[in-house]
Amino acid sequence: MIPLNHYLLVSGLLLALGMAGVVLRRNTLVILMSIEMMLNAANLAVVAFSRFNHHIDGQILVFFILAIAAAEVAVGLAMIVALSRLRRWVGTNEVATLKT
């Protein structure tokens, strides 16, 4: 049986990688992907806790997190597509001003 700490460590490292991705990249698509990575890390931690606490509520929470994350990605991508009509490339430097 793999101890809980191992799962939490993997989840934490994935969170760190996602955070590094958000800070490092200027392409908004990849920033969105890194956010999804962080949500995935949180999902892993919640499922690990659910397994080790013998409580199903964690898995139900993950179900909701998954659904909300998918909806959030859809809206974020729609925003990127709308932005791409104004600027040729949607990078963080190009959309840094409030003026269009």
């Binding site: 049986m1 793999i2 101890p3 809980l4 939490l8 993997v10 934490g12 490292l13 969170l15 760190a16 990688l17 996602g18 955070m19 590094a20 991705g21 800070v23 490092l24 990249r25 200027r26 698509l29 990849v30 969105l32 992907m33 890194s34 999804e36 990575m37 995935n40 999902n43 892993l44 499922v47 690990a48 397994r51 080790f52 606490n53 013998h54 199903i56 898995q59 139900i60 993950v62 179900f63 909701f64 998954l66 659904a67 909300i68 998918a70 909806a71 959030e72 990605v73 859809a74 809206v75 991508l77 729609a78 925003m79 990127i80 597509v81 709308a82 791409s84 040729r88 490339w89 949607v90």
Partner: protein, 168 residues
């Protein structure tokens, strides 16, 4: 090392490696492909944690819908602009330092085993019935609210994609 430990190591290492590749690839398409790999490894870890329903939902929703949506948008935007130029050095150092600090914090925090309360006697089932039964009885309200959120997200997407807001 039995099969469970071997699988855990394989899934975790491949997951972290593909996570690293997601954030470092120049082209957005490459990042999307490695994101699929990451989601599949997470599904594998869910299987090891005996959350069978969630593993399938993870593959279907995340790897099968979210990344496909990403790839559609990458395809819609012109191919050249999704390629980033060289990463600025300050960002590389800053993000590496941030990831190292957070990773180190987790490593230090998780040296001792996490103390859990006493588990109930019956085993936890992770199959379809065990997850969906509370979802439709005890957690029905969040379920319906999530449906509302998805509906509003759909309306938002349709609205955001309109070229001319004056025409219907």
């Amino acid at each position: 090392m039995d099969l469970q430990r071997a699988l855990f190591w394989i899934f975790s290492l491949v997951m972290l490696a593909s996570g690293l590749l997601v954030i470092t690839r120049r082209r957005a398409v490459d990042s999307a492909i490695f994101l699929i790999q990451l989601f599949l490894c997470t599904a594998g870890l869910f299987l090891l944690l005996e959350a069978f329903f969630l593993a399938v939902v993870q593959v279907l929703v995340y790897a099968g819908a979210v990344v496909v949506l990403f790839l559609f948008v990458i395809m819609l935007l012109e191919p050249d602009p999704t390629t980033e130029s060289r990463f600025p050095r300050i960002a590389v150092f800053g993000s590496a330092a941030l990831a190292a600090a957070l990773g180190l914090a987790f490593l230090l925090l998780l040296r001792k085993p996490v103390i859990l309360p006493d588990a109930p006697v019956e085993a936890l089932q992770g199959d379809l019935q065990a997850v969906l039964k509370p979802l439709f009885t005890h957690n029905l309200l969040p379920f319906e609210l999530t449906a509302l959120i998805i509906l509003s997200a759909m309306i938002g997407v349709v609205l955001l994609s309109k070229q001319d807001l004056n025409k219907p």
